[in-house]
Symmetry: C3
Subunit: 265 residues, 3 copies
């Protein structure tokens, strides 16, 4: 039984997600469909790119991850199938796989051009249902990626600009990438990016606030405290214990966060 | 494996949807349950009627579609099982199947009266869990529709009033039926309703705005443009490229939309 | 096929829920995962405790119910596996199973300490993915509860305070526990708690409002009426026909509700 996961900005108020599931199940009735999220901010390809990277390591190998955040639907933008990190991916060629590919170079990437795998007629506004979903179903049944269309090399793909943390003297500067639904601020700083030394002695600066020490978990600190910790996806995050750092700090995505070694204040 | 889809106004904050799923799985542990949406506006039978019509053509034949938007629960309103368009449906007799039946006359419709298929005791406020869900499960296991209760003819069923587009001279007048979660305005005008001639030469009038030409897809026009196109369910829709037509136009459901042939301005 | 249900405060905007599902499916690809809700108010263990109690009787026996509302994640709070009411449960030891255990004393409760059942490395902030989900998967495949860690007796567990209704003369006084997504106010008063006599002759007092009689269903009363009825989980609830009692009455959780026999006004 192959898992097919779905990541979209469709929300679940309408029938769009169900129509995609129907298209999959019409071809492979035994597909195991798993919703990742349908609440990507509308047309926010960058957020989807991070989510796809987060789930790639959480599913059994061979799982198929279908992502549709696709403002260019119906235009000349291409659609892709890719194999990377032991997983399989389907997405528009709009940068959605950039974060994943930065960490795990794909083994194979193909354009989707072979319309014998598609649902007919193909709507100009819903390639998720009419192309990506049926291709996912055929892939889950044993089709080879090379059947879907010609190969493409990674350098030809659309890339999203990705902000990587950088060094300023002994400090590391990154940025807030998103807030999760608890209001935790997720950053682009990974453990390996941190200045050397005891994490409890580091200083984290965001706007006018300075926080000392990376905590191990939320419950280590008092109710309402601002804490910094290494989140479950291996990136630094800023949280308020039993509260929302997004509300308390009121910072926008992209805000800089600075990590300084002990004694640099 | 039979698919059972669920369409309700229950939201997913409470345990209602899960209780329905539990009731189904208690009878048929192998049922493949697919959520369509649980975010129908509360008690909005008309919106549910459109959604059910949209998904009927998206699922494998024989799928069971269970819909509960049921302000009359516990009263004398009847419950129905129906076969139409190669699919199976379960819903209150409150007009929820009107849009579907207008397009695909049902082969068989039966009342649900045989309580041996029900969960006991039957709550007066949750027939979705206690009657519809167990009937869906038994149906998926091979029960015949005629076992659930006596047949009923379509003319005896509760009908929703459905606004169809009409002609005014050479123009066609329809209305906005709903906004989807992208803020696209969905109308009741189908391709066959359009005035003859090149779709790119038609004028679409909504309130004080006039839009020229039906676009093929969102990406055909500039960021922020107001566009009209044939949506993925085959009905005209009004959109803002990478934005929300609902916010830009600020029109209510039911607002008239007028399609005029070239030269009628 | 064993059902594994999920109840969390994670929302579905992020990838957290999908990561848990991936962790389960990585161990048991045939697990049947059912979402109960991911919209528990953040860190509201009391609300989760009621939800878990509601679903325990709705699923096939042997189902595994995994609940994560876990402000203490990463601290010294324990994690539990329990068998009660013919069902299986996994949750933090923070009172989440209190309501269930009050009604159905557990047959067996064990701490989760055997890390051979866990996903490695264990994040300090996501035990749902790294401990509870893999344990659920192993349990669904036949592991015995005793393999997960040492037994614990109920008296040693963290308990939530639970407000039970009380008698004042001939009246019964309870409280509003939550509003559901229709705006119905759910109380802690069960049928057995009611004063004796005809339910249609009882008076229900909430704030300045007095409602006479317990209705059988919403549709028994006129559009917009305030009604009291026995809800589908067997507890008294206050509703507005085709409307929201939460909006009309504007009362907070915890508000007292008083049920008086006929003639006590």
């Amino acid at each position: 039984m192959v898992n097919i996961t779905l990541t979209t900005d469709f929300r679940t108020r309408d029938s769009y997600v169900a129509q995609m599931k129907g298209a999959i199940l019409s071809i492979n009735p035994a597909a195991q469909i798993v919703d990742v999220t349908h609440a990507i901010p509308p047309q926010n390809v960058s957020r989807a790119a991070v989510i796809i990277d987060e789930i790639a390591s959480a599913f059994p190998s061979g799982s198929i991850h279908l992502a549709v955040v696709d403002p260019g639907v119906g235009s000349s933008r291409a659609l892709l199938a890719a194999e990377a990190a032991g997983q399989r991916f389907l997405a528009p060629d709009n940068g959605l796989l950039t974060v994943l590919f930065r960490r795990s170079a794909p083994a194979r990437v193909h354009y989707l051009t072979e319309d014998r795998f598609w649902r007919k007629p193909v709507s100009a506004t819903f390639h998720g249902r009419d192309i990506l979903a049926p291709v996912a179903a055929h892939w889950s049944l044993g089709a080879d990626i090379a059947e879907f269309g010609p190969p493409v090399s990674v350098v030809e793909l659309v890339q999203l600009p990705i902000a990587e943390p950088w060094r300023e003297g002994r400090a590391v500067v990154g940025r807030v990438e998103a807030a999760d639904s608890f209001g935790n601020l997720l950053t682009n700083i990974r453990e390996a990016d941190l200045p050397p030394g005891d994490p409890r002695a580091l200083s984290i600066v965001i706007g006018p606030r300075r926080i000392t020490g990376i905590s191990r978990c939320y419950a280590d600190e008092a109710y309402g405290s601002l804490v910094v910790l290494m989140g479950s996806s291996g990136r630094l995050e800023i949280a308020v214990v039993n509260g929302s750092a997004q509300h308390v700090l009121n910072v926008a995505d992209g805000t800089e966060i600075r990590v300084e070694p002990a004694g640099s204040e």
